[in-house]
């Protein structure tokens, strides 16, 4: 069974049909790319998948479970996590706390347990600390666990955002332009890291990216979006050599 199966997804803003008849099928453990010119509706698709917008047509199946039209909280619990095009960290909180907030729905104790530091509180907090530090070690952030997130350099903020998304224990990870604002060297490191995340966490990843080097380097399959509709889909090399894709997006 596919990890993500989207059929005929659509949404309108006023008179504008932002996304129309969008479909995608992502197998487990796949690295999938979503490309297209600016304004094609790529981020809108992410917002539809994560419940920020409610689709007015179509269906979304995550690992066989219908999550169409669910609220963002439910979708997060069902197992979709994302990062943002413009980094959205909890800037006044420590790096460690950023990751621990991500585990919010997996380690529960009552308000009173939190105030009176009951054994359950201690047990859950210790577990969260342990798991969060493991994640931070993977992303090479462990030595900065106590730093405020806003004081991290740009590249590390990107990594922390991915670490936080993984802390929600997702089945599917959505990355919105992870290489934006990175130089070629950083992009190279990012590619290694995305591959590593896929293998290490056995993750399924869908990413939006404009950097064709990254896309052709790591994505196994691509969907190309233009004016809210799917223009081409298939194996990466096929899509990138598709004449329509070249005219609409890549340029001669």
């Amino acid at each position: 069974m596919a990890m993500l199966e989207v059929k005929n997804l659509g949404i309108s803003f006023g008179g504008l049909r932002a996304v129309n008849g969008f479909h995608i099928t992502i197998e487990k453990n796949q690295l999938y790319g979503l490309i297209g010119p600016n304004g094609a509706g790529k981020t809108t698709v992410f917002n539809l998948l994560t419940g920020v917008y409610k689709p007015d047509a179509g269906s979304i199946l995550l690992d066989g479970k219908d999550i169409t039209g669910e609220k963002d909280i439910e979708i997060s619990k069902a197992g979709i996590a994302r990062t943002f095009q413009n980094i959205r960290l909890f800037s006044q909180m420590s790096v460690l706390d950023n990751v621990k907030v991500g585990m919010h729905n997996h380690h529960e104790y009552s308000v009173l347990a939190g105030i009176f530091h009951t054994p359950k509180y201690k047990k859950e907090e210790a577990l969260m600390d342990e798991k969060a530090m493991e994640l931070l070690k993977v992303f090479d952030l462990a030595d900065m666990a106590e730093t405020n997130a806003s004081n991290l350099p740009y590249g590390k903020q990107r990594r922390l955002e991915i670490a936080r998304a993984l802390a929600t224990d997702p089945k599917l990870l959505l990355l919105d332009e992870p290489a934006a604002g990175m130089n070629p060297k950083e992009t190279g490191e990012l590619m290694d890291m995305i591959r590593f995340v896929r293998d290490h966490f056995d993750m399924t990843i869908l990413l939006i990216e404009h950097d064709m080097k990254l896309v052709s380097g790591i994505c196994e399959k691509l969907t190309m979006l233009n004016f809210g509709e799917v223009l081409a889909e298939g194996a990466t090399s096929e899509v990138l050599n598709n004449p329509q894709v070249i005219t609409a997006y890549l340029g001669e």
Partner: protein, 363 residues
């Protein structure tokens, strides 16, 4: 890991320590007879100002929303607890037990008001939320001003018109008498109880901030969209912060009311001025800085008190009159100075220079 936990615990212990040392210092002063009468009159106000500032900091600093209706919740706590005390004056004669129950009642009812007002109001953000909470604070104050409650052999009577329309038997007693409020309140509040309440407030707020729920509340402050994307229930946690803050303000109000013989809702004690004054304490102590909210009300009041007494000694009645009439002016100036201090580029530059120097020395 261990090291960081102890660091946080150490910071919190310092905050509790400041309160306890302050308490012991005051006890020492009064035991040795060095306590001036104006200072001894300020001891219980210190306690409720700190409680109010710490609880407001939970909304302003930790949740990151501006609420200007804090005095309204204080008013609810004050009136509900004093109402209980008046009703039970002859039933429960032990003043400490009676006061503890009154405090719990004040806190719970204020927290319920926090939820009821929070549900519609917390859909708003920023300036809009500030305006609406301000309005609700004024509404509560004005409602209390037209509330008449009496008790006779048949039970309780309510009216929103006047005390005559209560229609009581001749033996009936008016408990809440509209603008005149509640009179003849037993003075149950003591400095020791006040300090214990401050410690309880600190305990609740500091522990809450450092828990799973506190992290969720802070994540909403820092980035609501990201908080939603990782499955935080934004409405639930906004309401939690708001109602806990309201409940603690209710405790502050109850302490305030039991320090008076007559309680009435005037613009001065439960109006806009009070909410702003608490906000000044929070801003002066540092938004989100709980320890600052403990220190700021005390320092600001001590300075003002000292200044007023100096003027009195100098016989400068014009300045004295002006200052005691225009306390709010002083607070406004304090607010403006803090704003300049924290946001003006020149000041930021200066602070960074000093701060970095310190950091280098430490390293």
């Amino acid at each position: 890991m261990k090291k960081m936990m102890t660091k946080k615990a150490k910071q919190n212990a310092i905050t509790y320590g400041i309160v306890i040392i302050g308490f012991l210092a005051m006890q020492l002063l009064s035991a040795t007879g060095h306590m001036s009468s104006s200072l001894s009159g300020l001891l219980i106000p210190f306690c409720y100002y700190v409680i109010l500032a710490v609880s407001l900091n939970l909304v302003v600093g930790v949740l990151g929303e501006l609420s200007l209706g804090h005095a309204g919740f204080m008013c609810v706590g004050a009136f509900s607890s004093v109402f209980f005390t008046k009703c039970m004056e002859n039933v429960i004669t032990n003043s400490v037990i009676r006061f503890i129950i009154a405090l719990i009642i004040g806190a719970v009812i204020a927290a319920i008001f926090g939820v009821l007002i929070g549900i519609p109001v917390l859909r708003l953000k920023g300036d809009y939320l500030a305006i609406v909470t301000l309005a609700f604070g004024e509404i509560i104050k004005n409602l209390v001003n037209v509330l008449y409650i009496g008790r006779d052999g048949n039970g309780f009577h309510f009216s929103m018109k006047d005390s005559l329309s209560l229609g009581m038997e001749p033996d009936g007693q008016v408990i809440v008498n509209g603008p005149q409020g509640i009179t003849g309140i037993p003075k149950d509040a003591t400095f020791a109880i006040g300090v214990i309440l401050v410690l309880i407030t600190l305990f609740i707020v500091l522990r809450l901030v450092d828990s799973r729920d506190g992290r969720a509340i802070q994540s909403i402050r820092d980035n609501r969209i990201a908080a939603e994307s990782i499955g935080i229930n934004v409405t639930k946690y906004k309401l939690m912060a708001f109602s806990v803050s309201a409940g603690l303000a209710g405790i502050g109000g109850a302490l305030y009311a039991h320090n008076l013989s007559t309680l009435s809702a005037t613009p001065k004690n439960f109006g806009y001025n009070m909410s702003i004054m608490i906000l000044v304490y929070v801003v002066l102590g540092g938004i989100g800085n709980i320890r600052g909210s403990v220190i700021a009300p005390i320092v600001l009041n001590l300075v003002l008190d000292y200044f007023l007494r100096k003027m009195q000694m100098l016989g400068n009645n014009v300045v004295l009159q002006f200052l005691s009439d225009n306390r709010m002016l002083v607070y406004a100036i304090v607010l403006i100075v803090i704003m300049l201090f924290s946001w003006s580029p020149k000041m930021i530059e200066w602070r960074e220079r000093v701060f970095h120097k310190k950091a280098k020395e430490e390293a």
